[in-house]
């Protein structure tokens, strides 16, 4: 009677263990692809936007010849053709990409540093400090974001710097919320309590124990935020509150191309594809890092 019972126990166990042994490998490969593919595409884009124009003779993004307007794709010397004023589209894409990446990076870094600090101090200090800081943050979050950005951009006037500050107005509160949640989770972890017991000063606890442990969460959030920032920056450009032409940006390329959409749809489609691929890669990379680092 006891022998079949033992068989019953051992029987179904074996395939389970075999599968369990095989699974981590497959998932490991998939998980690294999740990071390597979008990360690689982004690196290639960054290389072509920032480094390629320095080492290779790229046509200027402005001041093109009116003799060569509206050249089609794959024209000699102009891979993506030229636009209605004769500027090289590829060059405008690269220089426009610089703007997108710069704005996205600046807005996320400003948000991470200032918002992260606000959220961390609020959660760690607690009491009235937290109440005051977080209510201010709540007000910013409750405000209709695009309207706020338009108002800021409108009153400050169109320029890259102003776009950065306008968009930071809500990357900061968003990061503050994330940092607060992360700090609340970490604050009562035994190692933070142990550091407090060891007499470690508050700023050292923040720098040494809180910041390194919430970085994964903030960085993943920043990746997803960068995608949103690029879209918002494009929207601002499109509405005329962003980077003013003739400086190239993906947003204003779409805006100026819009009037020609029935004749030359490529003026809208080409920058849109770059916008789409960049934002998609940022989102995928954010998700990939999130699952790699086990961030919720």
């Amino acid at each position: 009677m006891s022998v079949p019972a033992a068989d019953l126990i051992i029987g179904p166990l074996e395939p389970v263990t075999a599968e369990a042994a095989a699974r981590p490998q497959a998932r490991g490969w998939l998980r690294s692809a999740e990071i390597v593919i979008p990360g690689g595409i982004l690196l290639v884009l960054l290389f072509f936007c920032f480094i390629w124009p320095l080492v290779y003779q790229v046509p200027k993004p402005v001041g093109g010849s009116l003799l060569t307007t509206n050249l089609p794709l794959w024209s000699p010397g102009h891979i993506l053709g030229t636009d209605m004023v004769g500027d090289d589209v590829m060059s405008r894409i690269l220089y426009g990409g610089r703007v997108s990446f710069e704005v996205a990076a600046a807005v996320q870094v400003i948000g991470l540093v200032i918002g992260g600090l606000i959220g961390m101090v609020a959660a760690y200090r607690g009491g009235w400090v937290e109440a005051v800081l977080m209510r201010v943050v709540d007000v910013f979050i409750a405000f209709p974001s695009l309207v706020l950005v338009l108002a800021i951009a409108d009153s400050l006037g169109p320029s890259e710097m102003h776009v950065i500050w306008a968009l930071s107005a809500f990357s900061i509160p968003a990061f503050a919320r994330v940092a607060r949640a992360a700090t609340l989770r970490l604050r009562d972890q035994p190692f933070v309590v142990a550091a407090r017991l060891a007499g470690t000063r508050t700023w050292r606890i923040m720098a040494g124990h809180l910041v390194p442990n919430m970085m994964p969460q903030l960085v993943t959030f920043g990746m997803l935020g960068a995608g949103i920032t690029i879209i918002l920056e494009g929207a601002l450009d499109f509405l005329g509150y962003g980077i003013p032409p003739p400086t190239a940006s993906w947003g204003n390329m779409i805006a100026t191309g819009e009037s020609f959409i029935s004749v030359y749809p490529r003026y809208v489609i080409v920058p849109s594809i770059f916008l789409l691929v960049t934002v998609l890669c940022l989102n995928l990379l954010g998700d990939g890092l999130r699952s790699r680092w086990g961030v919720r």
């Binding site: 142990a194 017991l197 060891a198 470690t200 040494g208």
Partner: protein
Amino acid sequence: MAGATEAATGAADLDLASGPLLEVSDLRVTFRGRRGTVYAVQGISFTVEPGRTLALIGESGAGKTVSARAVMGLLPESAQVTGSIRFKGEQVVGRSEHDLRDYRGRNVAMVFQNPERSLNPTMRVGTQITEALRSHLHLDRKRAHEQAVELLRMVRVPAPERRFYEYAHQLSGGMRQRIMIAMALACGPEVLIADEATTALDVTTQAQIMDLLLDLQRQTGTALLMISHDLGLAATYAEDVIVMYAGQVVERAPAKELFASVRMPYTQALLDAIPQIDREPHVLLPVVGGRPPDLSALVPGCPFAPRCPGVQQDCREQAPTLAEHEPRRWWACWHPLNRAAQ
């Protein structure tokens, strides 16, 4: 002869300092929450003497950890602490976080239960030890490093120079707990609280860590307050034992006498619940039936009455108070066990 004189002077020194290091009296901790008030600790008193080991025993929820945290000044703001906790005569209750900085670590230090989460995963373990040394003893980087390696050697971490640079995930549970002990001992505390310090470890490692703690205690003269739910551990390593139930002390005695003959039925029930190898196989373990009382709804009578096998009418009506019924033996029970007829 010289040795005898030395011993005598040593004894005299000990006499001078023989006042209790830590004196807790009528400590009460209540938590006011949305769903009522929880009376977590209801007037407990005990003293910790230099160089001795005191064990605080009880089920989870008995108030052991809350008491220990009160001693460290570590309770959240929602906790109301009354009564007094004196370290060498100085009041600890009501001190500000800033005032507590020197007291914690230098006077009283604590080792936590969970070595998994007690170390920062992003920081080298050595740095976590030097942090305490640098903030309390104001050592420079180099001296702190030397001292930390010395501490690692003291807690018997093999290859301390190398371990200094490792991260928590590279160490075993026992090794991590040794690091925690090194951190706690860094500034030479006079009282060390070990809050279930060995609970998460396997039995062999547990014995190693306890032996280490007692060895270090012998070397440094630190008083040890061990908090545990493990009576066996207390019997082996502690000199005095306090048994807590429902936020109160129900029995207190020197360990040897306590385990020779238990007075309080609750302590007996805890002892009976320890699995023993010579017990008949396939017989149900005599666990303590029922559940500990709800600490937010206090009822008259002995708190253990609903679960007590020897409960009588008077137990339900009036709670017995803790009193020294025999020399050095305290209990709170109307009908104690194992007493010779008087």
